[in-house]
C-alpha cells in the first residue's frame, strides 16, 4: 500500500514521542486500542489549570504507519489548544490532513478517542465529572 507523504513524514520524524508523569494532577492520559487488534495508542496532555490550555502533549503508539502518524499529528494539534478546542477535534480532520485511505480510518478514530479519554482522565483527576462521549462509529 502506498502511504501519503505526510504519513511517511510523521512516521519517519514522529513529533512528541514520549511520556508525561501520569501521577501529576495536571496530566491526563488516554490509552486506547488492544495489542491483538494491532493498534495501541497512548496520548497524554498536560494542562495549565489557570488558562485551561494544553501546554504539552506526548504519545506512544504500537501500530502501523497510519496509527503512528495519526497520534503524532494529534499531539501537534493539541499543543496550545484549550481543552474545549481539543474536544472538538474530529477524526475526519485527521483523515483529510494525512490523506488516509478508507482501511486506515480506524487509526484516526483511535486518535480522537485517545484525545477524549485523556481529557476525561484530566477532568476526573481534577474533580470534574467525566464527559459523556458519543461512541465513535467504527
Amino acid at each position: 500500500m502506498a502511504y501519503s507523504d505526510k504519513v511517511i513524514d510523521h512516521y519517519s520524524n514522529p513529533r512528541n514521542v514520549g511520556t508525561l508523569d501520569k501521577s501529576k494532577k495536571t496530566v491526563g492520559t488516554g490509552l486506547v486500542g488492544a495489542p491483538e487488534c494491532g493498534d495501541v495508542m497512548r496520548l497524554q496532555i498536560e494542562v495549565d489549570e489557570t488558562t485551561n490550555t494544553i501546554t504539552d502533549a506526548k504519545f506512544k503508539t504500537f501500530g502501523c504507519g497510519s496509527a503512528i502518524a495519526s497520534s503524532s499529528l494529534a499531539t501537534e494539534w493539541l499543543k496550545g489548544k484549550t481543552v474545549d478546542e481539543a474536544l472538538a477535534i474530529d477524526n475526519m480532520e485527521i483523515v483529510e490532513e494525512l490523506a488516509l485511505p478508507p482501511v486506515k480510518i480506524h487509526c484516526s478514530v483511535l486518535a480522537e478517542d485517545a484525545i477524549k479519554m485523556a481529557i476525561n482522565d484530566y477532568r476526573v483527576k481534577n474533580g470534574l465529572p467525566a464527559l459523556e462521549l458519543e461512541k465513535s462509529h467504527h
Binding site: 495489542p35 494491532g38 506512544k60 501500530g63 467504527h138
Partner: protein, 404 residues
Amino acid sequence: MLKLPIYLDNNATTPLDPRVLEAMMPYLTDVFGNAASRNHPFGWAAEEGVDYARTQISQLINCDPKEIIFTSGATEGDNLGIKGVFEMYSQRGNHIITATTEHKAVLDTCKHIEKLGGKVTYLPVNEQGLISLDELEAAMTPQTILVTIMYGNNETGTVQPIREIAAIAHKHGALFMTDGTQAAGKIPVDVQADGIDLMAFTAHKMYGPKGVGALYVRRKNPRVKVTAQMDGGGHERGMRSGTLNVPGIVGFGKACELARLEMAADAERLSKLRDKLEAELLTLEESYVNGSREHRLPHVTNISFKYVEGEGLMMGVKDLAVSSGSACTSASLEPSYVLKALGLSDDLAHSSLRFGLSRFTTDEQIDYAINHVKEAVTKLREMSPLWEMHKEGVDLSTIEWAEH
C-alpha cells in the same frame, strides 16, 4: 555502492540466473518449434531441448527422466498430484492426510477433495513446525490413499522428517507425495532414498523462470498414475495436456543443473550468512526465531520482534524486500496461519519478518540488513507504549484494553 532495496524475499521467488537466461535465449528466438511436432526439424530441435532438460531435472532429484511431468508451476503440480491420485485410486480409498502448515496450493486442493466427498486429515504441528510421526501413524486408515507433507516450509523453512513419513505411508499401503517447492535445488532431495512417490516443484524458486514446474510421478515400485486434470493432446504421457513451454523447460533444466553442481557450496555460504543475520537480530531483546532451527532450510529464517507491530515494522524496513507474517498489507487482517499453527499468538505472528537469502545475496547486503532491522525495531519500540509497559514490568495480559 549498495543498491536499495535489498531483495531478501527469495522464498517468494528468486531472480533468474544469467546462465539460465543464456540457455533459454535460443528457444525464445530461433528454436521456436513445438516439441510435439514430430515431422520436421523445428519440432525435433524443440523436443531435443526438452529431453535434455528432463535429464537435467531428473539428475537433481535422482529419478528417471520419464518420471518428470511438466506443469505450469508447483501449484499445478500440487493440484495434479492430489486430485489426480484421488481420482485414480478412488477404488482403493478416499482418505488423504496432510498438515496444517502446508501451502494453500495443497490445503485448498484438499478442501476441494472434501467437497468431492473425500476425507482429509490435517495433522497439527508442534512449536517447531514439525508433525508428529505417532500422530501420522494413528491417522492412517485402510482407506488412506495418500499422505502429502511438504518438504520445507515456505514461511519458516522447517524441514519435515520426509523419509520417516514416507515409510509410515508405505507401511499402510498409501502413496507419499511432497510439495518440494522450497527444498528442491536448495537441499539434497533424492526421491529414491527419501521414498517419494510424487513431488511438485518449480523453476522460479531455484533461479529459473516463472511459469514452469514439474510433478515427479514414480514409475516403478510402485508404478504411480494420476488422472489428468487438463484434457487435450495427451502430452506428458497423458497426464498433462498442453503444448510444452519449451524455453521455460530449458531454463528449468539449466537451473536444476546449476543447483545440483552448486547447491553444497551455496548452502554452506548461505547458512553462515543466515546464522549471522539471525544471531545479530537475536541480540535484540524479546526476539524469537519461529520454527525449528535444527531441521531447517539453510537460507531461511523467520523472526518475531515482540512489542512491535508488523505493518509498522514493514514500513520501517523499507530498504529491505522481505515478507511479514502479518497479512495487514494484503486484503485480510489475519496473521499467518502457519505461524499460528506453531502456537504463536496473533501479535507475535503479526510482528514477524521472513528472510530468504539467495545465491546472489552478499555479505554487504546482510550487514546492511542487520543494522537496518535493528534500527527499525529499536525506534519502533521507543515509540511503543507496550514496550514501555513491558520495561516497567507491567503484565500486559492484566490490562483491560479499550477494545475497538
